[in-house]
Amino acid sequence: MQSDEQLIKQAQAGNAEAFECLLDSYYDTIFRFAFKWCGSREDAEDVAQQACIKLARSLGQFRFESNFSSWLYRLVINCAKDWQKSQARHQSDSPNTDADQTIDVPYKDEPDKPILIRQLLHSLEHFADGMKETVLLVHAEGFTHAEVATILGVKESTISWRLHEVRKKFQSQFGQDI
């Protein structure tokens, strides 16, 4: 097996097989994060697909200045945000309108959990820019603050501050609900 770096370099040079290999190994990461962003399989697949296409387009711009996966996360976040914008045009604000759209994660023991998650994801969208990805990367993907800071290209202290803000907002907004 070749290392990722070699694969990336070959793909950048136009080697389709290398690119396919790269896609194959990173698709699951992309999909997983997309799912956490959207909360539903179909949307996540759409976002992941878009991210793959975008990757094909912009791989040439990757300069090995950062970790490839950090760069990839950023790309997926951008796709997810674009998706969100396009969704906003389609749907009204209330999270209840798409109530029949299910989160197909098996939470058999806690049937209200998908609803909670959907509400949570939905309300995160209304927070300031940068909040949703910070929260997701730290809490859902389990990165450290420093890692998230590199992925998002901000200072570590900004990450801590954002998390603090979100926590505060949730306390005031949802109180006991979440």
Binding site: L23, Y27, D28, R32, I53, L59, V105
Partner: protein
């Protein structure tokens, strides 16, 4: 710790959130698309060296989701496609490009994304250094291309129509056989390399195209497969507001046409629509501005009529014209008798609500519900309400229920949801049936239609609808129209319905407007005091040379219609005010006429002058006649009053007239200001500011704000 309740469980919730394993097919699909994109990128790059990436990116910005291709399509042959993809890098790129072009075409029909197909043209012609093809030739070729695409699309669509959404293999191969038509497209889409197109490669390309047709099929058939998707909101409903455009009333010579006749109009829809547009920073389209409706939006403090038997009296004010020195504005103001609450008749209301898919937006159905519950509060406990709705079909939601049974009515309202097409005609029929079933001779029987005016099923012909409403009107059922929403607002039909149904047309853009129409002015909205109100003005040729009626273009009547009681005209509700403004050019005193006098016709004009009685010839500008019918009567009554030249208006009347003049000036500015000389937004603002009066409800203050927005918008424009 209390903290446990929220943040910790927030974190826990997120960290517990596990994504399901990715779907193999979805992955493959994504990878295929990405590979195709990758190949396209690298092919273009190789053939044109550099800087394409920059240009290409223009085409691919935005989030152009292709609807997800859903099918059980040939998992086995996917391998071969992949192979073909990998081996024939270039041709797959070409085919993808063709899909991109086709996709863009289809895409644009449903979605106004910032993709510019012409930028593709430019890009390619820029890249064509190796192939000396002129820009014009290139363009021609692209034109042909789109024809081919259209043919292909038609073909594919035809097939979808005849086959089930899940496409079987043989069907696909039939489509493949059509690729001969697509060949020119492939070649022209990438003329750079077409010399390499040998037969083997052609086959590969056709395999690819097969896959693409499949994609295309999936694209076009996905709406069939996913009917549960919410109807798209907003984006495809821009700029489809329908207004009738009417030429502004011209200046007329008194010597040629001394008599002007029109029907009154108490609608206010135009003002709220214009307000909404301006508040969004958009300059309203000219045809959306109806001067008389803008003027009549405001309540003017004209003297009230004392009795119900003679429900109103005209008050006439003559003032210098703000936009033409020497000319004068004649205001004819009418305020209807306001029925005291104790004397108000009962109402038999049928609410006819549009719940079609197009009403699915915050400013439509939810606002309708809110407005209707407001209306409930203004009703007498014994009034009855029935609710009918229409979408794909019409149905009764609530049988006639007394207004005191408020909860039942509210429950019925709250159950409503938007969805489906719009069988408006059918809805109107049903509403009339309901109104007639519960017809009360003592009461005001009225249908209130709330809609965005998009009637797309059933009687769609507005003439037919108008005829229907007109026949029903004679049976004593009134029809009022409340317009909602924008982007697809059919003002033309709304106006026609209300005018023919003896009702008002109002446009509700906000809760505030609902409050104004349904609560503050509830009596005028609900109780007519006079119907078929017509105004006829005869100008005195010895004092007035020209006149121009400001607004009322859609309400023009023929001179003989005035005395014909069969001719329908506008209605006045209790407490309504109506203002009509004429701009006149008085004779003499060095006032420049807009129309040159005729060289050879002088004698004829003089003859008229000689005929006129001498006493009134100098002291009057003209003579106003108003005809109206009481709501229950079929015979009209005449009120008349002269416009005297030396009339001195009371201070209050002058103030009201000047404000009305400012509004009329503003409306004309929005319409282009053909007759306004140098009159501008600032003049409107200062005149309105000076004549604001008490302005209890703040509408006049709001108007001034609106003029400021228009001024800004006009500067940007």
């Amino acid at each position: 710790m209390k903290d446990d309740q929220s943040p910790d469980s927030l974190e826990k919730l997120l960290s517990d959130m596990d994504s399901p394993p990715s779907d193999k097919n979805a992955k493959k699909r994504a990878m295929n698309l990405a590979m195709a994109e990758f190949n396209q990128q690298h092919n273009v790059k190789n053939s044109v060296k550099r800087n394409i990436e920059k240009n290409n990116k223009k085409n691919t910005q935005g989030f152009s989701f292709l609807p997800r291709p859903i099918s059980n399509f040939l998992t086995a042959s996917r391998m071969s496609i992949m192979k073909a993809l990998n081996n024939k890098l270039f041709y797959s790129g070409v085919a993808t490009l063709s899909v991109a072009v086709m996709g863009t075409l289809i895409f644009q029909q449903t979605y106004q994304a910032p993709i510019d197909p012409t930028s593709m043209t430019v890009d390619e012609s820029v890249h064509l250094e190796e192939q000396p093809l002129s820009f014009a030739e290139k363009k021609k070729e692209l034109g042909r291309e789109s024809k081919d695409q259209a043919r292909l699309r038609a073909e594919v669509e035809k097939r979808i129509a005849t086959t089930a959404p899940v496409v079987s293999e043989p069907e696909l191969f039939e489509i493949t056989s059509d690729t001969s038509q697509i060949q020119p497209l492939v070649q022209s889409a990438a003329p750079v390399k077409n010399k390499r197109l040998n037969t083997e490669a052609g086959a590969a390309a056709s395999v690819e195209i097969k896959a693409d047709s499949q994609k295309l099929l999936a694209i076009s058939s996905s709406p069939i497969q996913a009917p549960d998707i919410l109807p798209p909101q907003g984006y495809n409903e821009e700029g489809r507001d329908k207004f009738e455009s009417v030429e502004a009333n011209p200046i007329k010579l008194v010597s040629e046409e001394p008599v002007s006749t029109f029907s009154i109009d108490v609608d206010t829809a135009s003002y709220s629509f214009v307000r909404r547009q301006l508040n969004q920073g958009v300059f309203p389209q000219k045809s959306a501005v109806r001067i008389e409706e803008m003027v009549n939006y405001f309540d003017y403090n004209y003297p009230l009529a004392e009795t119900k038997a003679e429900p109103f009296k005209p008050s006439i004010t003559v003032q210098p014209s703000p936009w033409n020195s020497g000319k004068k504005l004649v205001h004819i103001g009418v305020k209807g008798y306001d029925i005291p609450r104790a004397e108000q008749p009962r109402s038999n209301l049928v609410l006819l609500l549009d719940v079609s898919g197009s009403m699915n937006s915050a400013d439509k159905l939810p606002l309708v519900k809110q407005s209707m519950s407001m209306l409930l509060d203004t009703l007498h406990p014994e009034d009855t309400i029935a609710i009918a709705v229409y979408a794909g079909a019409a149905g009764q939601v609530l049988a006639p229920t007394p207004a005191k049974d408020k909860q039942t009515i509210l429950n019925a309202l709250n159950r409503l949801n938007a969805g489906g097409s719009t069988a408006g005609g059918q809805g109107i029929k049903l509403a009339y049936q309901l109104a007639e079933a519960n017809f009360n001779k003592e009461a005001v029987n009225r249908i209130i239609l709330a809609t965005d005016g998009d009637f797309n099923v059933g009687i769609r012909n507005s003439e037919e609808l108008k005829g229907f409403v007109e026949r029903k009107r004679e049976q004593g059922v009134f029809l009022s129209v409340l317009g909602f929403g924008q982007g697809n607002y059919n003002d033309q039909l709304m106006q026609a319905l209300a005018q023919n149904g003896n009702g008002i047309a109002a446009y509700i853009d906000s809760v505030r407007e609902a409050q104004k129409v349904l609560i503050d002015e509830a009596t005028s909205t609900l109780f007519p005091i006079a119907k078929d109100v017509k105004i006829q003005v005869e100008f005195n040729p010895s004092t007035v040379s020209e006149y121009r009626l400001v607004g009322y273009e859609t309400r023009h009547l023929n001179r003989e219609d005035f005395n014909n009681d069969k001719v329908d005209a506008g209605d006045i509700g209790a407490g309504h005010t109506v203002t009509a403004i004429y701009e006149i050019t008085p004779k003499g005193a060095g006032v420049s006429q807009s129309i040159d006098s005729l060289r050879y016709q002088d004698g004829a004009t003089k003859a008229v002058q000689i005929d006129a009685p001498v006493s009134s010839a100098i002291s009057e500008y003209g003579f106003v006649k108003v005809r109206y019918k009481l709501p229950t009567s079929d015979k009209s009554t005449l009120i008349s009053q002269a416009i005297s030249t030396d009339q001195v208006a009371t201070k209050e009347l002058a103030q009201e007239a000047e404000f009305a003049g400012a509004v009329a000036g503003f409306a004309q500015l929005l319409k282009g200001g053909k007759y306004l000389n140098n009159y501008g937004y600032d003049d409107v603002i200062s005149a309105a500011q000076a004549n604001k009066g008490a302005d209890i409800f703040g509408y006049r203050t709001e108007f001034i704000q609106l003029v400021r927005s228009a001024k800004t918008a006009s500067l940007i424009k």
